[in-house]
Amino acid sequence: MRLAGLARFNNRDAPPVPRFHARVLVRLRPSVLDPAGEASMAAAKRLGVEGLASLRIGKAIELEIEAPDADAARSRLELLSERLLANPVIENWTLEMLDPATSTAP
């Protein structure tokens, strides 16, 4: 029996494909107004939190990806970030590889 997409199942002698953990942070570009952030900031003041100078809302996307090595994983995730997860017209993104051994994130 062969199962599509399950290389390990189909060939038990194959080396395990490494799985990498990553996080993509998508932020509105500084020049883009963030009304949701401003509304949350106003609520923070009503909560009584003082001294808040800035609050901007973005997205965190957590991913697991199987790839031959960290570089391959990274380049696939960069493509994903640039083409789907963020819209470069209004957003910036950063990619963090979370596995300690492979992390080269700033």
Partner: protein, 217 residues
């Protein structure tokens, strides 16, 4: 003349477009399911309003990858008329057929009201029935209609006469008061207001009729 009306999971103005085209103007329509690729016999495509794919990730972001839209991009490249209304405008920007992006309204309110617009038809084939500088009123209904683009691109759009529709009183914070954009070849129009909701005297306002009727001209 047949208008193809795209139907994504979450579209909710597809039937309004059908009613405006068929019921008000007598133009036949055909629904185009997002997974189909067959545009045979379709002379124009409308991407309707709604919340395609739940507007997950960003408005219009996931619709971009539907099989139907691959064909629509090719259709537009051949000069086929494509109209994106509201969510359809958001999809056109995500597709790259029009520049910029639509973001959350300045004051976060979902706006559902009439909007006065100034029309600059330029070479846009959808707007041939309107006079240059004419003021019209169309309903808007959106939470994320604030047009955003960098200053250089906005300046270029204005120089090239592609800002086809502007708000007279900017409701949502759009840069340049942009309510609608044409592409340089004039066959693609994206706009946040809903012309299909201004075609039937029963619901008030007929300023949208000439937009769809342009296909007959």
């Amino acid at each position: 003349m047949t208008i193809g009306v795209a139907v994504f999971p979450g579209s909710n103005c597809d039937r309004d477009v059908k009613w405006a085209a068929e019921g008000c103007l007598g133009i036949p329509t055909r629904f185009l399911w997002h997974e189909e690729r067959d545009l045979a016999g379709v002379d124009a495509v409308v991407l309707p309003g709604g919340f395609s794919y739940g507007d997950y990730l960003r408005c219009g972001a996931l619709a971009r990858f539907s099989p139907l839209l691959e064909e629509v991009v090719a259709f537009a490249a051949r000069g086929g008329p494509v109209l994106g209304i509201c969510n359809g405008f958001q999809v056109l920007t995500e597709l790259g057929l029009l520049p910029g992006a639509l973001t959350r309204n300045r004051h976060l309110h979902f706006l559902c009201e009439p909007a006065e617009l100034t029309v600059q038809p330029g070479t846009c084939r959808w707007l041939g029935g309107y006079g240059a500088g004419e003021t019209i009123s169309l309903p808007i209904a959106h939470g994320e209609g604030r047009y955003q683009v960098d200053d250089v691109t906005l300046h270029r759009l204005e120089q090239e006469g592609l800002v086809a529709l502007r708000y007279r009183r900017n409701p949502n914070g759009s840069v340049g008061d942009v309510a609608g954009l044409s592409n340089p070849t004039g066959n693609v129009l994206g706009l946040m207001p809903h012309p299909e909701r201004a075609c039937d005297p029963l619901t008030g306002g007929l300023d949208g009729r000439r937009l769809l009727a342009s296909l007959l001209g």
